[in-house]
Symmetry: C2
Subunit: 213 residues, 2 copies
């Protein structure tokens, strides 16, 4: 009897290839035959090891989340002894690299971005375990930067402002590549992008702390 945690070559190969293909084509356009072909296994293997294409997708999505958080842990951002401005810088830099990594990890985040932009039933399972904690972390950092107690809604809107700047690079990549191809050319460009978002956001946050007229 096979469990989901069992270590089997074919099982693992299918999972990894599934992330690739689902990221490239999306759930519907990706075909079981393509996945099996790339994994060099018979076309019936998906239904043998996983129950169905949908179950494979669900597991591939969970796998992608696990991998991104394993390879880019948010340790430094979690360290509450650091000044919150620095924690924000680390968070953004980490997050952006996670999104734009050219290696296999880029595929992970591509799959995740697809799921967020066009959710399937699998998103609900992921939301609580993988997304909410990240959001809570960023919320905590923002609240510390704002210092003075502010309305929850203000914190939430600032969070969306920061997150939106980062996700822009993933969700609207087609536009960026067309308009400003140099902006995401290499690792240095990503670093520079992260620094800009950090500066932009810190500048905005520091202004919001001042009482307005």
């Amino acid at each position: 009897m096979t469990q989901s945690t069992a270590i089997e070559p074919v099982f693992d190969r299918l999972l990894q290839v599934a992330v690739e293909v689902f990221a490239e084509y999306g759930f519907r356009e990706a075909t079981v035959r393509e996945i099996c072909s790339r994994a060099h296994v018979n076309a019936a293997s998906v239904n043998y090891y996983f129950r169905s294409k949908e179950a494979l997708y669900s597991q591939a999505l969970a796998f992608a989340f696990r991998e991104t958080n394993r390879l880019y842990p948010q340790d430094a951002a979690l360290d509450k002894s650091l000044p919150p401005e620095q924690r924000l810088a680390v968070f953004i830099n980490n997050f952006l690299h996670k999104l734009l990594d050219d290696s296999q990890l880029g595929l992970h985040s591509k799959l995740i971005a697809r799921e967020i932009a066009d959710p399937t039933n699998a998103l609900d399972d992921i939301m609580e375990t993988a997304i909410v904690p990240q959001i809570a972390l960023l919320e905590d950092i923002i609240r510390q930067i704002l210092k003075y107690p502010v309305d929850n809604v203000v914190v939430q809107r600032c969070l969306l402002s920061i997150l939106g700047q980062c996700l822009m690079f993933k969700h609207s990549r087609s536009i960026i590549d067309h308009l400003y191809p140099d902006l995401v050319a290499d690792a240095a460009a990503i670093q520079a992008g992260a620094e800009h978002i950090t500066q932009f956001s810190l500048a905005a946050l520091s202004r919001l702390t001042l009482p307005k007229e």
Copy 2:
């Protein structure tokens, strides 16, 4: 008697229904039969009036762009006699309403957002006519706000920061609905969101004008 009937020609009905269905399901998952069924026409009509499903999609996408720009023209943002801060406020407010409109227009922008997040061949045609002018407008506004001549890259990054905050509401709607459902509840919430993004961005821009290191 056929002339006095209020129903629109088959061609127009197909185009409108196509926007609906493509926005709801995406290009691949949307079926010709579903579109024809909702339009109450025979399944062969798509190939009769349009050449193919792909050609229908291309025309539906162009139609969606035309509609959004017709119903939410950027007149005020174009008015160079206004102070740039006010033009930015108008631009963002306009853009956000365009994205989050609950009416038929919401479908238009949903279709567009799909295309941007997961481009097909149809995007290239749209890019020059519909997207580039909007970008150029926003670039112009930002450059005026920054006052002092700055590197093009700085302007570009600020533009992406602002655009990203807006598009967040469209591309990551699933997350927002899950975490902060009240933030996009009604027209007032959208207005408040636009005001936040404007304040957030103006605060950041005014800080960036100061010489740093």
